[in-house]
């Protein structure tokens, strides 16, 4: 465990640094490939919509979930004398329940089928009669909610960070998570129920939650960046991602642990049902959400920001300073053995915020941070 902790420290100091921002083309390509595969799955295989979306009746019969009983209940439904109930989908659900799905029935027909199931030995029958328009409404409401949420979040992030580019990046990351989740549903053939939709909508919140945390660090690291020549915007942002990496890992673990618990309990104890549907969508979406905050959202912000003149100019100043130092170091080395690391004269843009030890390679980032900490 303390390994992660040590890693955390080294990441924080910049001793170890994963180049999340610099290698963004790789991440983009990777994500694009995944997204394309997922989108393809949606087109080719489509989603396995649950009975809630197609309309129909779902019966859950309490009876030992054996193959014999499945056949027995299936036959009982066929023989019930309700034409629409013919050819039902019968599956086991957990260890002591069997689920039967039929085409849409009216209330009286459903009662007849229920009676047939009870006669066939089911001790308790739950039924769920769903009109064909119900699922459509759930989906429509969800879409409406999604649109309102997106607008609200774009405004919120823009207001909080004062940066529409962060809003845009967060939304792209969000879309990425949703497409991946939906794609996994398409390829795996998991049933899509209203609980799945709930899960999907929750991912919205979680994915953005995670992105906001990372962005907050990016903002802190890049505050007044144009006054400094220590790091480019891109490098500051990358440091931010590295510094929040341990948090991201910890958060993902603590968030995924309970979801995994629901998923496992849902499958083992209940078989199919809302718990499983919900937690499966959450599990996939949360994992994707953590990934996209690090690999997609932040690199995208950097890319968008790098088109700004100010960021470009600052980048040039940083490189100019480094070149100068490199030359100075080179000349120093050729003349004699370096006596010590001379404190580099700040280039033109250096301000009061940069401490004299700005060019000390050993602990470059600590000086301004601790100083800032004391001032507040």
């Amino acid at each position: 465990m303390s390994r992660i902790s040590v890693l955390g420290h080294r990441l924080y100091e910049g001793d170890i640094s994963f180049d999340f921002v610099g290698r963004r083309k790789l991440w983009y390509t990777l994500s694009l490939a995944i997204v394309v595969v997922c989108a393809l799955g949606l087109l080719v295989r489509g989603l396995n919509m649950g009975v809630e979306f197609k309309g129909g009746v779902e019966f859950t019969a309490k009876i030992a979930a054996t193959d014999a009983n499945v056949t027995k209940l299936s036959d009982a439904v066929q023989a019930a004398g309700v034409p629409d109930a013919g050819d039902p989908t019968v599956t086991t659900s957990g260890s002591d329940a069997i689920r039967i799905q039929t085409k849409p029935l009216d209330q009286d027909e459903a009662t007849v089928v229920e009676g047939a199931l009870t006669d066939a030995g089911a001790s308790e029958v739950s039924q769920n009669l769903i009109g064909p328009s119900w699922g459509e409404q759930v989906a429509n409401k969800a879409l409406l909610g999604l649109s309102v949420f997106l607008v609200a979040v774009v405004l919120f992030i823009w207001a909080y960070f004062r940066e529409w580019k962060m809003s845009a990046s967060a939304i792209v990351a969000l879309a990425h998570d949703l497409i991946i989740t939906v794609g996994i549903y398409a390829w795996s053939g998991f049933e899509v129920t209203p609980a799945t939709v709930t899960g999907l909508l929750t991912i919205l919140g979680y994915s953005l939650y995670d992105t906001v945390v990372v962005f907050d660090k990016v903002r802190e690291n890049t505050r007044a960046f144009e006054e400094r020549t220590q790091r480019t915007y891109s490098e500051s942002a990358n440091l931010a991602v590295n510094q929040t990496l341990v948090r991201s890992i910890n958060t993902s673990i603590t968030a995924l642990l309970p979801v995994a618990a629901i998923l496992i309990v849902g499958i083992v104890v209940l078989g199919t049902g809302p718990l499983k549907d919900l937690s499966l969508a959450l599990f996939v979406g949360m994992a994707a959400g953590t990934y996209s905050s690090i690999f997609i959202a932040t690199p995208l912000v950097v890319q968008l920001k790098e088109s700004e003149d100010e960021v470009k100019a600052q980048g040039r100043r940083v490189h100019a300073r480094r070149d100068k130092e490199a030359r100075a170091a080179a000349t120093a080395r050729t003349e004699a053995e370096a006596v010590g690391v001379g404190s580099g004269p700040g280039t033109g843009a250096v301000t009061r915020r940069v401490s004299s030890g700005a060019s000390k390679r050993t602990q470059p980032q600590r000086a301004p941070r601790s100083k800032r900490g004391k001032r507040t």
């Binding site: 420290h9 328009s133 919140g205 673990i253 603590t254 618990a261």
Partner: protein, 559 residues
Amino acid sequence: MATKPNTRNLPRPGRVLAIFLAVVVGLYALLIGVTLSGDGAETWKPELGLDLQGGTRITLQAKAENGEVTPEKLEEAASIIDQRVNGSGVSEAEVTTQGGDQIITEIPGEERQDLVDAASRTAQLRFRLVWGTQTKPASDTPATATKATADAAKAVEALDWTELSLTEQIDAETQGITTLPKDYQAAVDKLQAAANEFACTDDNLRKVSDNDVADKPIVSCEPETGQVYILSPAVIEGTELASASAGVPQNGVQWAVDLSLESEGTQAFKQVTTELTGQQKQFAIVLDGEVISAPTSQAAITDGRAQITGNFTQATAQELANSLKYGALPLTFTVNGVSVEGPSLAGAQLNAGLVAGLVGLVLVVVYSLAYYRGLGLVVIASLIVAAAITYALVLLLGKSSGFTLTLPGIAGLIVAIGITADSFIIFFERLRDEVRGGKSLRLAVESGWKRARNTILAADAVSFLAALILYIFAIGVVRGFAFALGLTTIIDVFVVFFFTKPLLSLLARTKFFGQGHKLSGLDAGHLGISGRKITQIANDGARRRPVPAQASAPAGEVR
């Protein structure tokens, strides 16, 4: 270790913590108060949704024939359905509106087909003529009554009543029921017999309303007065009613109900009132088979605008107006879904949800102990406090506003464990960053908190926004999930602000945490600052601190 005087206004963690805990205790005191005042037994058990306790849930979808489904119309419809379903006095059915165009009826317990029917029937408001009344009090033998009713029903069923003209129907009232064509006389006699045996009970009224058809005469009564009537086929349908409102007429003192009719209804009403006026004859306004008012006509109404007066109070006048409006609602309902959950399957769901929650909680606790060691205890304490508050609020909301815990709701609570724990993680990581940066723990808690605070607030705001929007737009079980998520997000903010942070401030003063004991999660080795002990760092920090603090004082405002 006494606190060294610090120039900055340090918060008083002890006091904050005490107030916070007092609030929590207050919550529970409130709960105990509720227990003592009400029926105590169930107080400590949350109100469970149908999916966890078993029952029937009916979703009705409203459609407007013209115009929109307004919230007012929907509320009226819901209150009528409420009266219908709960009128039989057996169940504790809950009728709620949802999503702007749906009415949800939840009936706990065993399946009740009759209640499903009662809930899903559309409202039927009709104007009928009064052909007769009970001529002698009903005998006390239900068997006779049932037989008379059945006979009348059979006789009525055999005839085509639509062949009667409006004039013939009115004549039957004004000049006596015997003026009807001969074919109808036998049926009319049966109706009279049925009326004589009719007892004005809720049960009978419900039967009447089940068989209430527009083009047949019925026997029914007015529950207010107990008066039993033989009523003609409907002369005006409820859909012809344009508006109804209660008010005090300009130069009157008594409450009255104004109503106005559409063109077709106006024609029929004109004819009816013209004929009835001056004869002390009544017509009946019938909603769902029940006579809600049987006024006499005082004047011929030619413009379709009538005023019903009588011994109305404000309440009764408004009730009548509302009933009229409901009958006139251009809403039709279709059954959108009926779900019946058996009680033991529901119990299995509840258990599974609780087990999942427990497992999730234990996993998070184990992980935070393993990773944060001593700080993990703070996580656990905070989670326990958060859980205690959540539990109390779920109970209180269940009592006060009928919040029920559903399976998705439980899932929402479990998911929230992760999000709540994340607030602590953000804080602790910041805290450790500060310690690594060379601060003493006491200062690190304050400065780390300052930075973590905004992140936590922003992140929770997004999470809350998601929950809120889900709650507003979602329908069905999704709302329970959104509510649980939103509730716990708010609780999370309170806990981290008023419990976790002050607790850490206090703990930072202890030797165990403040000097970085090996198990505190803040020791040098654990933090990755090998070679230096946290005490050294603290001392370094203490030594260095005054210098920059003074030096930066003049420029301290620059940020």
